[in-house]
């Protein structure tokens, strides 16, 4: 197997504990890789350290231990190679929609003329359906529109990798669905490599090639990697007709509800778990819930999956 495009090795984050107490370990021993063009989602309970991991990938935060290697180079500090869509959209409120996107584009291609910068930015805003709101200020936009501008701003710099922190968390279900469709279409067309945090299991299944399941903190780790084996040309309208969908969904929900806390130090699942090679599971395939051996080492047994019917979900 070749080196993945993005490689995270032995990442740990510790905050100094109160005087005299041992340090506070949010997560440790985080290992995973993302291939070029792959869409990876990370799912886990609140506070387990997802945002921290994303910020380390973005270069905005520093890990206490471990390295992140992207495209053969160690990540040190932020870069235009990694576009970030922030949870709170983080648009500059004194700039119009267009100027917000241009702000990044100008930085990416400083030699471009203002005309080129504008045309390029408009193209990306039209891509997210905001061609009519170029000159509106963020305060005049709805939550969904703001998030779209954030996505356009990140895409417009054509980064090698896109990092999204719960981009749709604050949106209502209807708007979320629409933007998910747009993101899906854009990603399918551009083969963008994506790392995304989400709390929404359905969103993860719709968008991701693989889902990283994170156990509860402190001392959180990647418990399992779930391969989303459904064909790539998914759509929100038809995805639930696929029998794989409910198997995967049940597996993810079961993890979040029942198993995510089994990895604390001393718990039986933790003892059998090798964080360097988290088990890769394919719950979508019939009998795929069992562990597939990874090339790098022997993986321990995954928890047994109860048989499910589509009616139960």
């Amino acid at each position: 197997m070749t080196q993945p495009f993005l490689k995270v090795e032995a990442l740990a984050k510790r905050y100094p504990g109160p005087a005299g107490k041992p340090a506070n370990t949010v997560f440790e021993n985080i290992h995973f890789g993302i291939a070029k063009g792959e869409f990876a989602c990370i799912v886990g309970h609140s506070g387990c350290g997802k945002t921290t991991i994303l910020n380390v990938l973005a270069g905005l935060d520093e890990a206490s231990e471990g390295v992140v290697i992207m495209d053969g180079r160690e990540v040190r500090g932020p870069s235009l190679d990694r576009g970030v869509v922030f949870q709170g959209h983080a648009l500059l409120p004194w700039l119009s929609t267009l100027k917000n996107v241009e702000f990044g584009v100008r930085s990416r291609w400083p030699q471009w003329t203002p005309k080129q910068i504008e045309a390029h930015s408009i193209r990306y805003l039209e891509m997210v359906g905001l061609g009519h709101a170029l000159h509106k200020k963020p305060a005049e936009l709805s939550g969904g529109m703001k998030q779209r501008v954030g996505i356009a701003r990140a895409f417009a710099i054509q980064p090698k990798m896109l990092l999204l922190d719960e981009p749709f968390g604050a949106l209502d279900a209807l708007t979320r669905g629409t933007i998910q469709d747009e993101l899906l279409a854009i990603v399918q067309a551009t083969h963008q490599t994506v790392f995304m945090i989400t709390h929404d299991v359905d969103e993860a299944i719709l968008l991701a090639d693989k889902v990283l399941l994170m156990s509860n903190g402190p001392h959180a780790r990647i418990a399992e990697i779930v391969d989303i084996t459904m064909p790539r040309d998914r759509s929100r309208a038809t995805i639930h007709h696929d029998p794989q969908y409910y198997r995967i969904r049940n597996h993810l929900v079961d993890f979040l509800v029942n198993r995510s806390r089994d990895y604390a130090a001393g718990a039986p699942a933790a003892a059998a778990h090798d964080p360097r090679n988290p088990p890769l599971v394919r719950p979508g395939l019939e009998g795929g819930a069992e562990v597939l051996p990874l090339p790098a080492g022997a993986a321990p047994a995954a928890p047994q999956l109860k048989p499910v019917s589509s009616a139960s979900a």
Binding site: A58, G59, L60, G77, P78, S79, L80, R82, G83, V84, F86, G88, A90, L92, P93, W94, F103, G104, S107, R108, K137, P138, A139, I157
Partner: protein, 280 residues
């Protein structure tokens, strides 16, 4: 509150003004004087007051006549102690703008540095905390001694008193710029200089403008006192001079003009503040 009557507040204002003038009139009314009061008489009395012949509290009519006199010829210049009120006001405005402008040139860049660097903030904080509460007039003797020029000393005093609100507000605004916006600039690899001008400055601009508005208000308060001390020109000196002449009507006119100019300066800064305010 009913918003359907926009004329109600101005009407009440006019009523209060009438009430004030009425009370004032009754308080200064002298039955011994001639029974008929016409404009000619008012003008006469006004003149008498300005020459110092009459030292009693002026009536509204006298002050009105005085005001009219000032307004009809504000810019005459007949020597050191006899300049039009317009000229005196211009001297004061000039000093305030100069001192305030110089203070802005120092306070805003320095505030930027303080706001961006916690280390420099900590290092300079004791100085700021000690110097800020000092009355600007306390600097006056020191300024007169070192600068040896009364006009420049007045400007220095304005500089000192305008400095602190702008400095503190700029530092506060810059330090409080949302992390998210800075992170956006960082992930887009925007240079530090561009980040300062295109992210931090606009983000902190409303706070900085608030500081500037406070500063110019204080500067306008202080200039009157400063000019009373240094003498020569300016509205403060004018007031002091008219006190020596015992011309209360002139003093009241000056107070009115000082208030109006102060309001104009504040309105101007408020306009500017509105121009840089953004909604989140």
């Amino acid at each position: 509150m009913r918003s359907a009557r926009p004329w109600l507040a101005p009407l009440l204002s006019a009523l209060f003004l009438a009430l004030l003038v009425g009370v004032w009139y009754l308080a200064t009314y002298q039955p011994a004087a001639e029974a008929t009061v016409d404009s000619e008489y008012a003008a006469l009395v006004g003149q008498a007051a300005s020459t110092g012949a009459k030292s009693a509290m002026p009536t509204p009519g006298e002050v009105g006549a005085k005001l009219w006199e000032h307004l009809s010829d504000p810019f005459y210049d007949r020597g050191t102690n006899d300049k039009g009120i317009g000229i005196q006001l211009l001297y004061s405005i000039g000093r305030v703008l100069l001192g305030f402008g110089l203070a802005a040139l120092v306070a805003i860049p320095l505030g930027f540095v303080i706001g961006m660097s916690p280390l420099i903030y900590k290092a300079l904080d004791p100085f700021i905390q000690v110097l800020k509460p000092v009355s600007p007039l306390a600097w006056m003797p020191l300024a007169l001694y070192t600068i040896k020029d009364s006009g420049i000393s007045a400007i220095f005093v304005i500089f000192i008193c305008s400095l602190w609100p702008m400095l503190v507000n700029t530092a506060f605004g810059v330090a409080g710029v949302r992390r998210d916006w800075l992170n956006v600039a960082r992930t887009l690899e925007v240079s530090r200089l561009r980040t300062a001008f295109q992210v931090i400055l606009p983000a902190a601009a409303p706070t900085i403008m608030t500081g500037m508005r406070i500063s110019i208000g204080i500067a306008w308060l202080v200039i009157v006192a400063a000019e009373m001390l240094v003498g020569g020109t300016g509205i403060g000196y004018f007031v002091w001079n008219e006190w020596n002449n015992l011309s209360i009507a002139n003093i009241i006119s000056a107070i009115l003009f000082i208030g109006l100019i102060g309001m104009a300066l504040d309105t101007l800064l408020a306009r500017l503040a509105r121009a840089v305010t953004y909604r989140e």
